[in-house]
Assembly symmetry: C2
Homo-oligomer: 417 residues x 2
């Protein structure tokens, strides 16, 4: 498989891990914490280009994580990076915003049907937290309804971990079951007059669980409850935004939110987040206090303008879906041919591949990914993967050569028992 | 004053403000919200270089805000930007961290006496919030003692605004008076066994108030209370970090924290934040969950390594202090000569200039800054200002020509008044 390769020795990665173990808690934090990286996987990376990433030992892989979502046009997209560079060459972090803040806000308002304004930040968590604050400011209420197991960020009100979190951090958070309109109605009723918002993910993409697209009836119920009670419908589009539909991921089910949170793919890897909202919440958004030292930086906003413009020009979501469908069809056929039962879930642009009868930790999935990695393909066994516009037919077909070998290895393992 | 100039017409700024009024709540958010920008000040910027910034209408100013702190070596420092560019040219946001995460963590551990580990984020608020979470995780307690009026970020537990904030967001926050050891002791006693942390700013720099350096006796009391109770001493060094002392701002008073939050100047304008901590909190830091989509990006970390290395090589804090002292001496002499009583407070690197007898909104200070702006100098009347290594004697002397005119104008106004 030409220059895609997996080394027998990952010398530099091992040395960096040893050094990190001394100076970084747990060797790395968050998604990337050393304990969470599957055995045999590289932890440290050096470069990316198009659909490929290269680790610190010089091994190049076809990348199905896209940096956990941000890369949507391909690593180091020339036009996007040129836009960022034009501002970097003038200065990025200045005493106030650049014109790109206005140009980008105008572009979002033009592109996203519900959006009548936008504001910008750095992290997805900044955006989801701001949506909650704006919803509370706009409604004068407190209760936030969140789907059980949904990921909305990494601060106390929403973190998947309770370490260091107090009960009061979640005093006004109540849960419902995603795609279950009845449970949502019950949670809204229980909240009574104190319901500030319902927050929904674009789809159900809980770690390690089969993904579910939003049920249109559930989405409509969420909208109806908000309309009836005056609560804000918050769409957390951080993970899926711009990948499924440039107008927002719930355009696919015909339901529009009052507030939406974006980040990840908005600037093809440049650090940026955005909140968009309707006229009704403009005043609340202007009264609440949001700021960050680097939030007015122009380079990431210029990158976002180019990213969204380019996605629109080439119909990025359709391209990414086609790439995902090609991968899905190939994997399905390969699994069948090797006598392995798999479940592929989620939108083609954000696939999850699971093995029927696998352990809760997805041991078979992990073994499959390790075999794919050895053949030059970087996948994930429990977190949804991401495709990009750089996943051409040729790249998908190349990846499928690797996965065919990985399925064969898993089948052999299964036969050995 | 050669090419430093102030236009009679700020055409482009006005046009951007009009457009922003439609698509951005309040015309801009946070620090930069349109309502907070003094009349006559530009809101939108185009470029920076060394100690100067240029607004969208092409007017260049000697910059005493340094992008509200991040710029410490000067705008577009060539070595820092080259380090970032080397990683950008390979790809910034990849599937995992680059080697720069390890190199930077090692450098912080080497540079900051209390630091035995580091982790990285994007916003100052990310870092202060993580410190609180780590302190709670490490102590199993909840109460956090915060100085009245201190700024520690822009999320509900610490935001200066209560808009959209619930009472529970601050359930375990109690206040003390900065530099008042007795009030700190009383707050600690009141917390009883439930004290997780005392958080302190590097100095008292509350908006619009005379600044206060930390009283060594107060700093020692904070350390003693933490040692006696097992609480974490958190130093919020986001605003002052690397400007006063490369080892942390409380090295100046000989007191070391257990956890510290950095951001702003750490990478000379590249978006980055860091938490450093002692061995005692390493396990808590590895158990708590922190993550962000762009937190492993290598370019800002490479920029930080170069920033800190360069600050160390040239003794940046000493240089910045010398520049601040030159400015302070010049302003003091000018004020005296114009018969105007001013108070200059805070460290020379982070000065605040106030006019005796001014209104609570600092109307005279604002008038002074507007006059300075008209003469090519960008200052702030209520928020502390920032100097950088690019503020050479020549730049300071140039700025003082402008402030002399500004004092004259204020004196004339006072005589008329």
């Amino acid at each position: 498989m030409d220059h895609l390769a997996r080394p027998t020795e990952s010398t530099r990665d091992r040395s960096l891990r040893q050094r990190a173990a001394t100076v970084i808690p747990g060797g790395m934090w968050g998604h990337q914490r050393a304990a969470a990286v599957p055995a045999g996987y590289p932890q440290f990376f050096r470069a990316g280009e198009g659909a490929r990433v290269t680790d610190v030992d010089g091994n190049t892989y076809i990348d199905f994580m896209c940096s956990w979502g941000p890369i949507i046009l391909g690593h180091r997209h020339p036009a996007v990076d040129a836009a960022a560079r034009a501002q970097w060459d003038l200065g990025d972090c200045l005493d106030g915003p650049t014109e790109h803040a206005v140009i980008l806000a105008e572009l979002l308002v033009e592109t996203i049907p519900h959006a009548e304004w936008a504001l910008f930040q750095k992290n997805g968590t900044d955006a989801t937290t701001a949506c909650v604050t704006i919803a509370r400011a706009g409604t004068g209420r407190r209760r936030i309804l969140v789907a059980q197991g949904a990921y909305h960020g990494a601060v106390p009100w929403c973190s998947p971990s309770l370490v260091g979190v107090t009960a009061e951090d979640r005093a006004h958070i109540r849960t419902y079951a995603y795609n279950d309109a009845e449970s949502l109605r019950a949670a809204a009723e229980e909240a009574g007059g104190d319901i500030a918002a319902i927050i929904v993910s674009a789809l159900k993409h809980d770690l390690g669980k089969r993904q579910e697209l939003p049920d249109p009836a559930f989405a409509r119920a969420a909208r109806e409850i908000c309309d009836a009670t005056g609560a804000a419908l918050i769409l957390d589009d951080v993970r899926a935004g711009f990948r499924l539909d440039l107008g927002g991921s719930w355009e696919t089910v015909g339901v529009r939110p009052d507030l939406a949170a974006y980040s990840k793919a908005i600037a093809n890897g440049h650090a940026l987040a955005a909140v968009t909202g309707t006229e009704r919440f403009r005043d609340a958004a202007s009264r609440a206090f949001f700021t960050g030292s680097f939030w007015t930086g122009g380079a990431a906003m210029a990158a976002a303008v180019t990213t969204i413009t380019e996605l629109s020009r080439i119909d990025g979501p359709a391209r990414i879906e086609a790439a995902g469908l090609r991968l899905r069809a190939g994997l399905a056929w390969q699994a069948e041919r090797h006598g392995i039962e798999i479940v592929q879930s989620g939108p083609p642009a954000m696939p999850l591949v699971q093995f029927v009868g696998d352990t809760p930790e997805a041991a078979t999935g992990e073994a499959f990914c390790r075999e794919a990695l050895a053949r030059g393909v970087y996948m994930h066994h429990r977190h949804n993967m991401f495709l990009s516009c750089a996943h051409t037919d040729a790249e998908i077909d190349r990846a499928l050569e690797a996965t065919d070998g990985a399925f064969a290895a898993v089948a052999a393992r299964t036969r050995r028992g």
